[in-house]
């Protein structure tokens, strides 16, 4: 069940991938927005205008994009880690180390999502907004929360995947990423 080829696997991979692509597209939209705002500011004399709240929009976009990138990075093992010493421990121990670190990642993502939920509810309650656009911060948090929830789902799946490999006595295939 917890294999990338299974139905569950294909669903989770697809979910993380599309979310990451959405994050990337938001980055590109930010690039366009910043450039338009720069042009508007530079050509004030010709009646153009910068985009109001461009700095706030960049922050909100970042909040979405970075959360959106987290599931994909974990799924594809892109996070930086050091296997210099553990390489001498042999495959069986390493497979179980992976299970433990995946559990830590699950704990971290779940903690982040749990706390972010309460942060979001605070923002709804206190009605805080951004400075110029008066964009509700609750919505900005909610956009990040989507990524955080999917991060938890992916962390569950990845944990299941590494437990599966470890119990079968196999090692996970090497993936491109920052694993070293």
């Amino acid at each position: 069940m917890f294999r990338d080829e299974s139905r569950l696997g294909r669903f989770v991979v697809g979910l993380a991938m599309w979310l990451a692509i959405a994050g990337g597209l938001v980055l590109m939209a930010m690039v366009a927005m910043i450039c338009i705002s720069i042009v508007g500011r530079a050509l004030l004399a010709f009646g153009l205008k910068p985009i109001t709240g461009d700095y706030e929009l960049v922050s909100i976009g970042m909040g979405f994009a970075v959360f959106a990138f987290m599931p994909w990075a974990h799924l594809t093992r892109a996070h930086a880690l050091v296997s210099l010493i553990t390489d001498s421990f042999g495959p069986a121990i390493n497979n179980w180390i992976l299970v433990v670190t995946d559990l830590m990642m699950l704990a971290t993502s779940a903690f982040i999502a749990w706390r972010l939920y309460f942060g979001m509810m605070d923002k709804f309650a206190y009605k805080e907004t951004t400075l110029l656009l008066r964009f509700p911060l609750s919505w900005a948090y909610a956009m990040g929360f989507v990524g955080a929830v999917i991060w938890v789902i992916v962390s569950l799946y990845v944990l299941g995947r590494s437990i599966g490999y470890a119990t079968r006595g196999e090692s996970e295939p090497k993936r491109m990423g920052a694993e070293v």
Binding site: R41, Y126, L132
Partner: protein, 317 residues
């Protein structure tokens, strides 16, 4: 019984308020308690988070005490926000006392769940620009940074192009001419090096400054409640109206220092005359009206609050 209280704030330790108000306050309280209250000072957001989170850090007990700008969390203190309206307050001392009294009488509910030590304002905000601003006409088309939505609104009404930009970006933007000017009180100018970057500073003859920002020196409610009664009394003796006034006076001293740097640098200091100032006050009226409409949308009587704020300021003058 001894307690250690952690104070968290967003400016470097050597800035006006941390060095001139917060540290002396902490030392005084510590002495009066004969060392039973100790303080740990954490400047420059050392304990983590962004400045906008400070208020919640005090409310939720992440730290014991914070000093923060209330405008960093727009929308959270709508009734207290009235003090940010243009031409409200003449200087830090009067503005701070008035602001404290106003909040206690009109918007104390916005500070439910925390223990307020002091509430204060800065001195009058004014223009700092590359080209001189001698008349209302001069600001037309200028790219000016405003620190809040109310200021940006007002700048737009005055015919300037408001640029919303975080304070740390201002120095960089001003030095390259990405913006033509900024609005800050004198106190802030040395730290962001305004007097080196621009040569013109425009203030008003009116007894009121262009705009005001509001600050809170806020303690976690449990940290306060858990103190034994005699230590509570010491904190109480160092809270309230007179401490707020004192914090405002430190702002005024900072203003004098900032002004002196600009004068020593040979910069052009413009004081707009009565007639000009009145033009600006008139031009700012739509901003005030818009704020009333905003408040009405939230079921708040903005006009009444505005009058209460003006009365609070008048009572101190």
């Amino acid at each position: 019984q001894e307690v250690t209280l952690r104070i968290h704030q967003f400016l470097p330790a050597q800035a006006t308020m941390p060095a001139g108000a917060i540290e002396p306050w902490a030392n005084k309280v510590s002495e009066e308690s004969e060392g039973r209250i100790k303080f740990e000072l954490y400047p420059a957001m050392q304990l983590g988070g962004a400045p906008a989170e400070l208020y919640d850090q005090a409310k939720d007990g992440v730290v014991d005490i914070v000093w923060t700008v209330l405008g960093y969390t727009p929308g959270r203190f709508p009734k207290s926000e009235v003090f940010e309206l243009p031409f409200m307050s003449p200087n830090g001392e009067i503005g701070s006392a008035a602001f404290y009294n106003y909040v206690m009488a009109n918007s104390a509910d916005e500070f439910a769940g925390v223990h307020v030590i002091a509430l204060h304002t800065h001195g009058p905000g004014l223009f700092h620009s590359k080209d001189p601003i001698n008349t209302l006409e001069d600001i037309k088309g200028m790219k000016v940074r405003g620190g809040s939505r109310i200021i940006s609104d007002m700048l737009a009404n005055l015919g300037a192009e408001p640029i919303g930009m975080p304070v740390p970006q201002t120095t960089e933007a001003l030095s390259k001419g990405v913006i033509d000017g900024t609005t800050v009180p004198w106190e802030v100018t040395p730290s962001i090096r305004v007097a080196e970057l621009v040569t013109n500073h425009t203030g008003f003859t009116s007894q009121y400054g262009l705009y005001t920002q509001t600050f809170g020196f806020i303690m976690n409610q449990d940290s306060y409640n858990n103190l034994p009664d005699d230590l509570k009394a010491i904190i109480d003796a160092n809270s309230g109206l007179e401490v707020s006034r004192q914090f405002g006076m430190v702002m005024d001293e900072g203003d004098a220092r900032g002004l002196k740097i600009a004068v020593d640098a040979g910069n052009n200091i413009v004081q707009l005359d009565e007639a000009q100032t009145q033009l600006w006050i008139d031009a700012a009226q739509p901003t005030i009206d818009k704020w009333f409409a905003d408040m009405e949308g939230q079921g708040i009587d903005g006009k009444a609050l505005y009058d209460a704020a003006r009365a609070a300021v008048a009572a101190e003058m």
